[in-house]
Amino acid sequence: MSGEINLIREKHFVSAKTESVRQLIYRLTSILLLLFVVVLGGSLIYFMKLNADSNKLNDDLTRVKQSIKELQKNEGIYMLLKQKSSSINQIISNRYPYLDRFDYLRNLENENIKINSIALSDTKTSAINVLVKDSPTLDQLTQTILQDANLKYRNIDIKSIVYQVDSSMVINLELKHL
């Protein structure tokens, strides 16, 4: 009778390759579990921290809102001041330079040019009625005005010329400013 008798019962003989695979699986499983625990724990801890920050911020917000509620009377005054200051600023900024225009026009006067009337309007139109002594004086007057024409005026119109008995002229000029 031949045959082997194995005195070591229920012993499994595992090959080296199988053993290494088994070790690898357990190692990977451990790493996976470790990573999982780290991620789960980290996210929970981070969320708790954010909650704490949020609660503190909410407390600060409540506090500042309460302060603002107590300052409601001041808010009315501030809004009033803002409303007025905005409008005042517009009024001052948009003022038409009457005195500058007036000074310019009255400085056209000399011994040969006499102003009868000046009209100024915030629609950027000036009108002047002048008595000029003669034609050369009229040329001189128009040349003076035309000198600054490009910088100052959109239109310069001579509306009328009325000859007087003594060869002087009454001129109506209209200037439209830029």
Binding site: F47, E75, K82
Partner: protein
Amino acid sequence: MKIASFFTGIIGAYVIGFLTLIVVVIISFTVIIPKIHDIQAKKQEISENRELFVKLERKKTLLTSIEKSDTVKFIEDALLALPSEKDAASVLIAFRNISAQTEFGIDSIDLSPGIVSTASGEQAVLTTPKSEKRNGADVYPISITGRGKINQLTDFIRTLENSRRLFDLSDLRITYSQEDHEFVLVNMTLETYFLPPITQLSTIESQLSEITPDERNTLTKISVFPPLSTNLDASLTDTEFGTNTAIFGGQP
């Protein structure tokens, strides 16, 4: 023993690995991923609240600044410059004072503020159909005729423009006297402003519109303008002021 030997075997290893993977996946989907969404939402909420907090702190600082003395002065000056009501009386006082100061004579004043009081004596609703708006405020027109020397006229206009009660010239017609070329007759149309106050406050969380540096500079500028629309000299009488008035559009 069979169970123990099962798990020590290769099949057991695979089973353990697979079960672990299943557990990790299930917990990831049920706990970690929702938690990540919660974290993102919480961060967004914190970011918004932080922004709101900064704005509200700024609002609180602005509201507290009202109590400072220079801000109180600004408020007084702004109310004088741009009253909340039509206040025709202060307009007349201003012209009287400017006329007296510059010695430019006013022959007539014609102003049409519209309703200044209701029949019950209460203040009228502050806007009327005649009220126009310009530069963000309500306006009503005033016509003045006057006379004086040219330098008195220029002083009058300059003083008008530098009066703390705000007026704007809209039309100026100057006729030179034939007898004395330094003497002029003037018709001018002015506009005077008033601005009814805001009556409704915003919510606590809404931001205040801040006063800009330009606006602050303008308030500083007008604070040095003389307050000509208050009674400066009680000794001035109506006869010194002018011969004719046509208040509220009536004939002089």
